[in-house]
Symmetry: D2
Subunit: 308 residues, 4 copies
């Protein structure tokens, strides 16, 4: 389904869900989440609320934001409605044409099909696997792929498939082709770089724009690039941090989704910073993945709007 007149700007995939299969005239209501952005002007909220009301919608949660700098308007609505996706989609497509609107529609809580890329560090993968099982983090981890085999047992303990895709300087192009094939074959909507220690090519970044989330182990824009904890230790900072962001061709420059910090002191060696930082990294990454999967993250140029 064409969700948007600006498909490049669409963050979210739309999918047919099982609940959508029914053609029964007496549907039970579904809980939808609608996210949209467009140039700001009067009447957007009224038009959207009107469209939803015409489809018997009951708004349960809603947030809006108009950016006075970019003159863009952002909205996220959760609404209960017995209308079919086809009907809602047709109405939204018409509305979007009027308002030059980018939108996405999904069912609240539908697990987003997610591929996790790893190297050897286990803390982020372990955290995502555990949360997905126990806390209803709304993702469906369809596979884990690693350039090393270290995390295969952990992956399999959680009943997931591990793909070993080694990467060397000479095989980087093939490895990326294998990743992209996996993304297509498994119908992947979100790729999470869970301390995946490879820089992706510009082509792959573009191909998956808005669909790759990385965790960087510093409070960006400080300490870009390699060995950020060593840089932080050398500078003598009093807080270390982590940053989760969308991946773009500019290394460590993509739109920031979430950041957090922890206090350190002079007595910490670099390797203690690394260990302590793992706590921040996994917490920050898990929040970013959750908000993305709940369609709470909207792009505003190279910045993000987060409707928490």
């Amino acid at each position: 389904m064409a969700a948007s007149p600006h498909p490049r700007r669409t963050n979210y995939s739309e999918r047919v869900t099982t609940s959508d299969a029914s053609a029964s005239p007496e549907r039970s209501p579904e809980h939808w989440v609608l996210s949209l952005s467009c140039p700001d002007r009067p009447g957007i909220v009224h038009a959207v609320a009107g469209l939803l009301a015409e489809h018997g919608g009951n708004i349960t949660e809603s947030q809006q934001f108009g950016d006075p700098d970019t003159h863009l308007f952002f909205m996220r609505v959760q609404v209960e409605s017995a209308a079919s996706r086809a009907d809602l989609g047709a109405a939204l497509t018409a509305l979007a044409a009027d308002f030059d609107m980018t939108w996405s529609l999904d069912v609240v809580g539908r697990p987003v099909r997610t591929l996790i890329l790893v190297s050897t560090a286990a803390h982020c993968l372990n955290d995502l696997l555990f949360r997905q099982r126990s806390e209803n983090l709304p993702i469906d981890i369809v596979a884990v792929a690693g350039n090393h085999r270290d995390l295969e047992p952990l992956t399999e303990f959680y009943g997931k498939t591990f793909h070993h895709i080694p990467v060397t300087k000479d095989t980087k192009a093939e490895a990326e082709a294998a990743l992209l094939a996996l993304v297509r074959e498994l119908d992947v909507e979100l790729v999470v770089l869970a301390r995946y220690m490879q820089v992706l090519s510009d082509d792959l970044c573009r191909e998956l724009e808005g669909k790759i989330i990385n965790i960087h182990h510093s409070f960006l824009p400080s300490f870009k690039g390699a060995k950020p904890y060593h840089q932080a230790h050398d500078r003598g900072v009093k807080l270390i941090g982590a940053t989760s962001h969308y991946v773009t061709g500019d290394l460590d420059e993509g739109p920031i989704i979430e950041q957090d910090v922890e206090r350190v002191d002079h007595s910490r060696h670099v390797n203690e910073l690394v260990a302590q930082g793992q706590d921040v990294e996994r917490r920050v990454l898990a929040r970013a993945v959750r908000w993305h999967a709940e369609h709470r993250v909207l792009l505003n140029g190279h910045r993000t709007v987060i409707f928490r």
Copy 2:
């Protein structure tokens, strides 16, 4: 103007502002803030958005929340509209009757007429006076009243009037009568207890319900009553806190607006906890006063909804 069919439940005062005096047919748009709550049911957002659209409104910010436990719906909207207060008020009164709605309408940023009550501790008063002057905290401190004279010079440095209203066991009733007279004479919309070390009578609490904000120097519900830092030190807690809440007849039991904490360790004497706690107290109180003055705090039974 009668803002609501349930005036007892109204949190906010409505006032005629200078911008409202104009009767010109070509008004320039005003920036309004509308807060409301009502029993939850389909169609509220659509009805409100429709009402605002009919008055040429452009929504700049909006938040909604439906509480699944209390089945109440809460909404805060900022909207630009050239409509007069009278017109908007009439439309809202009609709508409120349909939805059994409590609402308030104000101009964004209008300073709320505020009376600050103090005893001898200066930190909260100093903070509110300073913020009001320098950071556009949207309150107008119309007077400061104290049961001691210690804070008169600080008050007068900021060009405010200080009222000395001493309180003894025998004169408590008279003192409260004097306070209430001040509230009425100065058209006070908000009373802030900035470490005012007197317990207000039930009658006064009822009279000013929803209009008195207190700062308690503990992380409630821990350490109610007197000397909370001594209680905290004795229990050996690792974080101390402060709580800002609406005052009700139940001491330290009113609806919580904001809380925060700071880390302490075993080496801190009680008097150091007291000094360190002043930082948390003034920060927490300032946030609560700001959110109240910006109509971001709505009552949900004995809890609060905060639209930040």
Copy 3:
């Protein structure tokens, strides 16, 4: 070895380590950690430093604290020395007699033999198992015991032995006897209640005094007892917390080791508080276990001194 004239007050076990087996006259230096407390008076530091200097010690880290309220003195020293444990122990025993001192001596980083008790919630167990494997948390998890079998697979994935010890009202005494037998048989130094949903008997608490750490899912002393997140939600607090403490016969009243909080808002249902709270719980418990295992926690009456 009798470490102290007040054995009941000793927090830590002393053990013969492999490095102690050598009787060679040219020992390579060992890294020791010495923790002690005694009534405060002049000369303690000098006496301790002198004793260590006599044994060729080089102090690498040291912290002291004299409590003006209890008139007790606390000290933790890390020292490199080639002296044997027997020699150091004899000297310390003599010193302790002079100063009425409680002390413990251990090798820095020696893993503390730990038994983890669980019911069905996995987050704390998963966290401890993961940290122990990956971050050098200095514990040796010698077994996991649960009153349900739910966490047996997770335990076994990490190569640990799971003991199923069911508890009913009628079998509580037998279950505790089985636990105590396990503690003795496995030479357990530390018992961690990782969301173990059983109240231990006074007898067991006394038997293992200072050796059991619990995680309570509230910011104590608020919300003691059952269902703290429900209590917190009902009170409308703006931060939820967790508290790690030594277990005593007084439920949720033991000496606090660590606490932390996370911000919540009005939109969170109780079950979301529960999920969000898991993050705080596991973080707080892991810190408490680490500090205990590193001999950083000293008892000061019903409070703790933490040398971080």
Copy 4:
């Protein structure tokens, strides 16, 4: 008094205090704070503790740290002793020669003579003046100097002298000469740049090395230089911060004393970041000034050791 064989490395001034004037043979004990650093080697703590014991000292608080990277040792001791400063000083001078030690000795709580430099922003000055009066921040604000007159009334309200020293491109050298004259005339030990919007010359930085504390309104090393909140807003960070550091010739590169952050979201305009940031700035600056004045900050190359 020559406090050190490496006077350039000495952070702290030594002064004769009134309590030192007595030549009585039966002195009442004074509470001293001794800070020192030297190349690490065995025996330092024993030697220092021995020296203090010989002077009847009772250690009330002590912290040590040996940096494995720089091989430097750092120590801060609070000790009660009836010995005279002359006697203690002579003994320390002898010890320092043996250990190549930099040291300072002061009376606990003695207010450090402080000059505050300001431009037009009041929040940091107001905070320091208020804390000094009410919370026993151990500084004596001997004067405030500003390149604008805006903060003269606030300064005078607190009974302090305001010096107006205007700065233009052409008069910068004269202005710095006037500042330096003030420092000498008033016997200033610490200069605080409380949002003083002038870059000091290299000469002045060298002249007052280790005696000037600045507050930078970003989480360094991010957003050095001008308009950090604008930079932060443009980058879309999710936390804003402030950094207090010693001033060196390298702009915003001096040793960091303290940092902290606050959460922001997409809805904040730049001017709101500026207002919110004032809270962090004053908190961070006040902590740095306190720790410096309590001799808790020791230089470790271009980093700091903080004994809190």
